[in-house]
Structures are given as C-alpha cells and as structure tokens.
C-alpha cells in the first residue's frame, strides 16, 4: 500500500498536500467515535509538508504514538501529568522517517502501562471493528488508526506486547524489532531494558518497508547495535524453514484463537516449512519476571515527574502549604493514573532493601534462564510461532477492574521482550468479525526471516 501511494506521489498523480488533507480529514471524522488520536496535528502537518523522491516515506501519512517525542509538539505519553508538555526535541526514530506526513499522535495507556488503552488520561480508544470493544494497548490508538485507514503506517512502542497485541485486536500487522535494532532515543521510557519502537501497518510488506527506514544505529542510544544494512522488503525463500510451534497450555485461551492457530499451522505446512512442536518450560515465568523487572525500571523512570518541571506544579493553599518537600511530591504525584501508581509502588517495593534479592535479583536470573532457553531453541528451529493473544478484543470495561486478568493478555507476547528478540503479529482469522493474531518470533536480528514467513502466510491466507 505504501509503495503504491509513493509511486502515485512520485508520478505527480497526487500531491503530498492532497494526501495529507485526505488522511487528516479522515482522522478528524473518525476520531470522535474511535478516539485513536490524542492530537491530530493538522497545522503542523500542513506547515511541514515536504517532498523528495529519494525519501521512501516522503508524503506518506503516519501516526506516532504519543510517548514518542516530536520537537515542538505536545507529547503526553497518555498521561495527564504531561498534559502541557511540549517536547524540545525529536526522537531518532521520528527523524529517520524523513518527510513523512504526521497525521497525529496516537492514544495510549498512560506511560504505556496497560493492554487496552483504558488507562489513558485522554479516554479509551474504541476498536474500529466493534466500538464496544477495546483496541488493545498500549499502542491502541495507533492500531485503531491503521485499521480504520486514517494513516498508512504507525510507530508504536512495545515493552511486553504493546504493538503486537493491539495490532492483533484490530486485525493489522504489528512488528516488534530486536532490542537494539531501532533507536530508543526520544521514546518516553517505561521498562528501558524491554522497550523498543515498533511498526503497525495494514500488511507485512509495509512493515518491512517502514523497518527499512527506522532500523539504524544511533550513537545517542548506547544499547543501539550496529547491524549491516539490509532490505527487509526482499522476502527470502521460506521453503524448508524450520518452524517451532510453541507448546502452550490451552487454559484461558479462547477456542477461536486455538482454531485459528491450528489453521495457521496447516497453512505453514502447505508453504513447505518443516513444523515441529517445541517446549519452553521456563516461559511460564515470563509474565512474573516481566511484572517485577518492568515496574522496577518504571519506578526510577517516572521519578522525574515530580511536579517541579513536569505536570501541574501544585500551588500552596491554606490547607496545604507544603511544609516539607515530600508534601509537595505527594500532591504533585497524586495526579498519576491508577495503573501508573500501581506500577510505581510495585517497582519501589521490588527494589527495596530486603526485597531486592527475593524479587529483582531473582527475576533477573530467571530472565537470563529464559533468554538462554530461547536461544537454545533457535538451534533447532528458525522461528517460533504462537497465538498473539489468548483472546480476541474484549469488551471495554471487562478487565479494567482486574489487573491480573489484564496482565494475562500479554502472556504470549512478553517473552520476546524478555529475550530482546523480534516478533511480528499478523491477522490469521476472524470470528464474529473479530480478528485473531498469529505471532512469529525470530532470532535476534532475524527480522528478515519472520517478515518473509509472515508475508507468505499473509499471501496464502488473504489473497
């Protein structure tokens, strides 16, 4: 899709300005119902239009999740704490998207904490396929915008599934690259050792197309890696590819999801891949590891929002004249959303004296075991497949009061963040008009392989 539009722009069949106006007007029309955008950046987009044929995304409409900084624009991270925060700099990943047209900033769970966009300080995002359901999260706004066609590509962030899960819920493609392939500089940090920017598009080719632009070493991000430049849109032959099917417990997984997954395995076999079941016995600890390590990092990453430079600086009143600094902090930080407070508290606890070894340190050890287990598995297979999520998009309000059941929606996705490996989610079925997703995980920097397999499955399933 992107390359077709690019061709039309290059051949002067349509102007960059007309493209921008078309997509922005669509976004404006849909947003009252979907709430996919925290800001629709019409003025910014129209005043920043530029076109150069060599830039692959020149004039292509995109949506950027609102925890990714763009110079001169409000960047809220979905939280009221940053309601008035205008960023003075742009994230490297945004700078790499030369000349693209910014439709707007995507709605999200505050600070990317959540799997439904219900934790947003700016209202929930509705699933375009069924507006009574969530679009997933935390990049729910981006997925809903791509699914409803108000942008052709979106950049989200994925810490435990935040790109893949909403992509799955909205029936689009979500790619989480290897940790270190794309720069984190300018992404508002959640779990720094898990966060990666990710891509959401309508099809696999477009994800590969966008990845070509953002896969770039960045000296401003010390965890960024130097990797040989390659063209991810050149899909490779997948015949004889060794596909590992994750042996998972079916408990808590919808039968529709299991049906779709079984069909995908058949499809994969029909493509000439070699399929075998693999056991990763330690993967069941992934969620526990994730919910110790990520909140720990969060508790430090969010300490800067102290009301002095960010958020509403609390004013002295007769009742509260801030006799101590901690009074001030309490007042300023009580504005955090509930899920944000919950994770700061968990993380502060897991790092505390006397609990560090029992929680943080142990989780770190288990993380290494899981990493090693996955690495070993990739000696036998080239990719590992599983469903993306245990259910289709759930009803708004259904899980928000039960954090644990919400956390479980990331059960298949967190492992790749724990191991830092790439993973992609593609639609693999529809049940009552609600999409299911297939997740393909690959070796570190094995994006090309998972994109190739995803592409051929997509061709087979939907064409």
């Amino acid at each position: 899709m992107i390359d077709k539009l690019k061709e039309q722009i290059d051949n002067k069949k349509i102007s960059v300005e007309d493209v921008a106006k078309e997509y922005i007007s669509k976004a404006k029309k849909l947003n009252p119902e979907l709430n996919a955008y925290i800001s629709i950046t019409e003025d910014y987009a129209l005043s920043h239009l530029s076109y150069s044929p060599q830039n692959k995304l020149s004039g292509i409409p995109g949506i950027i999740k609102d925890n990714i900084n763009i110079k001169g624009l409000r960047t809220t991270a979905g939280s009221r704490i940053l309601e008035n925060y205008i960023s003075p700099y742009s994230a490297s990943v945004v700078l790499n998207l030369s000349d693209f047209t910014l439709v707007g900033k995507g709605n999200m769970d505050a600070f990317a904490f959540g799997s439904s966009t219900e934790n947003s300080g700016y209202g929930v995002t509705h699933n375009p396929l069924d507006k009574t359901r969530v679009a997933g999260g935390s990049s729910g706004g981006v997925a809903a915008a791509i699914a409803s066609g108000s942008a052709l590509f979106g950049i989200g962030t994925d810490t435990g599934g935040s790109v893949r899960q909403p992509a799955s819920f909205c029936g689009v493609v979500g790619l989480k690259p290897t940790y270190g392939l794309c720069s984190r500089y300018g992404l508002i940090a959640m779990g720094s050792s898990f966060d990666t920017p990710g891509v959401i598009t309508r099809n696999v080719y477009d994800s590969a197309y966008v990845l070509n632009e953002i896969a770039k070493y960045d000296k401003k991000d010390s965890t960024s890696m130097k990797v040989a430049k390659q063209d991810y849109t050149k899909f490779r032959d997948i015949k004889d590819l060794r596909v590992g099917v994750l042996n998972f417990s079916e408990e808590g997984v919808d039968s529709d999801v299991i049906d779709a997954f079984s069909n995908s395995i058949k499809t994969i076999k029909s493509l000439g891949c070699k399929v075998k079941t693999i056991d990763l016995p330690h993967l069941k600890y992934s969620l526990a590891v994730y919910y110790i390590l990520v909140p720990s990092e969060i508790s430090a990453n969010l300490a800067r929002y102290d009301g002095i430079r960010f958020g509403n600086h609390p004013e002295k009143t007769e009742d509260n004249n801030f006799e101590s600094l901690s009074d001030f902090y309490v007042e300023a930080r009580s504005k955090f959303e509930d899920e944000v407070k919950r994770r700061i508290i968990i993380g502060t606890y897991t790092l505390s004296s006397g609990y560090y070894d029992a929680y943080f340190n142990k989780a770190l050890k288990v993380r290494n075991i899981i990493k090693q287990e996955i690495k070993n598995a990739f000696l036998d297979v080239d990719v590992i497949i599983s469903p993306t999520t245990p259910s289709v998009a759930f009803k708004i309000g259904k899980k928000i009061e039960n954090p644990l059941s919400m956390y479980l929606s990331d059960i298949f996705t967190v492992s790749s963040n724990i191991a830092g490996i790439p993973a992609i989610s593609i639609p693999n079925g529809y049940y009552n008009k609600l999409p299911t997703g297939l997740q393909i995980m690959g070796r570190s920097f094995g994006e090309s392989t998972i994109l190739s397999l995803a592409n051929f499955i997509e061709q087979k399933l939907w064409k």
Binding site: N69, A189, D221, S222, E297, A300, A303, D306, L325
Partner: protein, 489 residues
C-alpha cells in the same frame, strides 16, 4: 579511658573533561549564565538517554593509576534512586556494585612525636564515576536551580577508615588534592566546588582497669557532608571529636548502638548540626542502569590512559630534592602544580646557574605573583626567567630590578627587551665613584657611626647609593668601593 578517633573520607572530584559525563554539553560552566549548559540528557527530559563520556573514563583511570588502584576491565553503572529537586531524573547514575577502580592506597606524612614525622599508609577502597547534581540556591520562600553543574563528571574516592586525627584527615585530603591536580585530572578548585569532602567520623572508647580492657564502645558514625575546604574538614573533625565524646559522657553506657547520622557543617559557627538519621544505604534502591551496557575496557585503552599520567608529585619531589638539591619547602611548592614543575624544567634548560636559585625564584616570587593576579604560569613566555637570571648572575641586572621586570611583564604585558635595556647595570666606574662620593659627603654622621662599630650602617649606605643609581649598579661593586673610600677617610 582511651579515646581513639576513626575517620574515613569520601572525596568528590569533578573530572577535567570538555563535556559532561553523559552528554555533550560543556562541563566548563563556572560563572556562566545559569541553565545555559543544558540539553535533553542532562535536564532529564522524558526519552533522553545517557552516553558515557570516554574522556571521563580516561581521567578516572588516570586517577586510579595515580592512587595505586586496580583498574577493572569490566565495570557497570547503576541507578541510585532518591528524589530531590537538584536531581533531575530522580536518580543519579553512579557505579555501585562494579566500580571502575578498586583497592588502592597513598602514603601521608604523620606526626611522630619527638621523632618528627613518619609515613603512614591510607588505604583506598574504591574510586567510581558518577554525575554531579544541579546547584540549588535557597531563598526564604523559594529555591532556584541551576542545571549547568548537573551531569558534570565526578569521581568519588572512598578511603578506608584509616585516619585517626584531624591532622591525618587533612594530610590525606591534601595528598589526594595534590596528586589529582598534578596529573591534571581536575583543577580541584574548592571555591568552584571542584573538590568536596564527606567526612565519616566516630570514636572508639576503651575503658580499662588495671591495664586490661573492661569494655569497648563505639559512638555512632557521623557523616558530615559537602565540606569544601581543608580548614572546614579539619575543624569539623575536631568539633565532632569533642561533641561525640561529650555525648558519650552524657549518655554514659546507654544507647551505644545507633544508626549512622548525617550532620551538616555551618562554617560561620564552626559547628555541625543534625540533619537526619541515615537509613540503610540500600534504601537508594540501586539497580543496574538499563540505558548503559556494562563498560568493558581493553588492555590497550587502560594502558594508554595509565601511561598518560606521567610523573607523580612524590617522584617529582624526589627529583627536585635529590638531583637538583633543592630545599624541601621550595620543592614542595613546585610540585603543588604540574605546570610549576614543567616550568622549572623548561627554564632550567636555558638557565646557566644553579637549579636551586631558579627554584627559589619560581616558588618564592613567581607563584606569589600568579596567586595575586590570578594568572597562569602557562601565560608566562618561556625562557624569560632564565634570561633575567643569567643577566643577574653576570652582574648585569639586580635582583630588585628582576622583580620589577617580572611584575611588569607578567601583569602588564610590558616589553621585556625594553625593560632590560632600561635597567641593565651601568658599568661606569666614574659615575659610580662620583655617586659614592656624594653620598658619603651627605652622610658624614652615618660614616662616623659606622666607623665607631655600627656595622648595620653599611647596608644603609649601599642602599643610598643604589637608590641614587636607580638600581642600575652592581651591589658588590658598590660595597667594595664604599669600604675602600670609608677606610680612606
């Protein structure tokens, strides 16, 4: 009852680097407009990430080598979590578990009663890299923050509790100051906050009866933070020694075990004051900094950094004393600063006289001139002092004139050649004879006094002649001629 003081020091040194610890902002900020050395990284803006400054790592290795510390080829940064307005990220990036250097020592000179002084080894636990905080200026109802200092590279040098008196603490601090300055890893300018001391002090009190120990007590360790002069360090130690002993006497044997206490130092009152009872150190919730991979240093990198320190002040002192026969006080002044030492060596190449005369001039006159004017020895043109002293040795310039010339050239940038020309000694016997005759004619009474045995009068007369000659005469010729003429009167 026997009372022993136990002292350990944490010394923070701002490393001399072009840019800050984790970003490219300039780290030379003194007297600049507040908040003018800032970027998303050192301001802790959401999404910004740190990048380790290689130059700071090199400086840390250099200090490590100079303090006999082991340089670790693998080290790591951690986050130290605490909230305070001067800490923009809400955590400080420091090295907790795996510091870049560990286990070193220095020797200091300590008092040894009648026997003068002796050498004592002070062990150093570690020196690790971290970032400085912003500067807070407190007013009655608000506080202003200046972020120029935020993120400046710091090295924290942690000693073992090996010091036993305020003198030893001061000697140790001075030693570190001298070494770090000499290898040019920091200017250590305490007025600019480039070197600060955290003092940890408590007392070990032993009660004895009939020569055998009955009971041993330890007062709670007190940490006095942010002392910014040797004097403050010394006085805070003395104050705490007294205060803790008094407190012990008051409380006798109850409440002996206490938590570590943090106290502040009021320089005007010369007193420490209670700040807070320090909770256990791991309440800082240290954990590995996820934004920075572990720091691996290869041998070549470490070796190059080590080599670049060159000579150490103790070695330089030995050379000055043994090879050049320079007195201990003068030599000590010269090794206060690497640039003094370098200056001495470079002038020595051109100077034909004795090294100790050259050293006397540098330590006894030039250093003072520099301190007075705030100029650097590097501003002095090379070879000038050697030229002047060679002239003096050949009786062509008086030392008085040399002082004037140095002052004028260094402070006023006057022309050296012209000054030499204007002041060179006039070797004109007739002129000198006439002048002496005049002085003797005008000072008949003094001459008589001299003849009656008041020897001191002679230098007065020499001075009179010198003044009349506007300093441009050779004092030994004056003296010789004066004596001859007086004796013939």
């Amino acid at each position: 009852m026997e009372v022993k003081t136990i002292i350990g020091l944490e010394i923070h040194v701002q490393l001399k680097t072009k840019s800050k610890m984790f970003c490219s902002c300039s780290s030379e900020y003194f007297n600049d407009i507040p908040n003018s050395h800032m970027c998303p990284v050192c301001l802790g803006l959401p999404g910004a990430l740190p990048v380790i400054n290689k130059e700071a790592v090199v400086q840390a290795i250099r200090v490590g080598e100079a303090l006999n510390l082991d340089i670790n080829s693998k080290s790591r940064f951690d986050r130290k979590n605490y909230m305070y307005p001067d800490l923009f990220k809400g955590y400080q990036i420091t090295q907790f578990e795996f510091p870049i250097t560990t286990s070193g020592y220095v020797y200091i000179n300590v008092n040894n009663g009648d026997k003068g002084s002796k050498s004592k080894k002070i062990r150093i636990l570690r020196a690790h890299m971290e970032e400085d905080t912003a500067k807070s200026t407190h007013y009655s109802d608000h506080t202003l923050l200046d972020g120029n200092k935020a993120g400046v590279p710091l090295l924290e040098i942690v000693s073992y509790p090996d010091m036993e008196s305020s003198e030893e603490a001061k000697e140790y601090a001075k030693k570190i100051y001298n070494i770090v300055r000499f290898i040019q890893a920091s200017d250590c300018d305490m007025e600019k906050g480039q070197m600060r001391f955290d003092l940890n002090v408590n007392l070990k009190i032993t009660k004895k009866e009939g020569g055998s120990v009955v009971k041993e007590y330890r007062t709670p360790i007190v940490e006095v933070k942010n002392l910014n002069s040797f004097r403050a360090l010394e006085r805070a130690t003395l104050y705490e020694e007294e205060r803790q002993l008094e407190e012990f006497r008051k409380n006798a044997e109850i409440a002996q075990v206490g938590n570590k206490v943090t106290r502040g130092w009021n320089d005007n009152l010369s007193k420490t004051f209670f700040q807070r009872e320090k909770e256990e150190s791991n309440d800082y919730r240290y954990f590995p900094e996820p934004d920075l991979p572990p720091l691996y240093l290869n041998k070549e990198f470490i070796d190059n950094a080590k080599k670049s320190i060159g000579i150490l002040p103790d070695e330089a002192l030995k050379i000055l004393e043994d090879k050049y026969k320079i007195g201990s006080n003068i030599a000590t002044t010269i090794v206060e600063d690497r640039s003094y030492y370098n200056y001495f060596l470079s002038e020595l190449i051109k100077y034909k006289g004795s090294p100790s005369n050259l050293a006397n001039w540098i330590a006894g006159y030039i250093v003072g001139l520099l301190n007075e004017s705030g100029k650097s020895i590097l501003d002095i043109s090379s070879g000038m002092l050697a030229i002047l002293l060679n002239l003096e040795d050949a009786n062509n310039l008086s030392s008085l004139k040399i002082k004037d010339i140095l002052k004028e050239v260094i402070l006023e940038n006057s022309d050296l050649d012209k000054l030499i020309n204007d002041n060179i000694i006039i070797k004109d016997d007739n002129m000198l004879d006439t002048t002496i005759d005049n002085i003797l004619a005008n000072n008949k009474e003094e001459v008589l006094k001299y003849k009656s045995g008041k020897d001191g009068i002679l230098s007065y007369l020499i001075g009179q002649v010198m003044r009349e000659m506007q300093g441009r005469a050779d004092p030994s010729s004056i003296k010789e001629k004066l004596l001859k003429k007086i004796n013939s009167i």
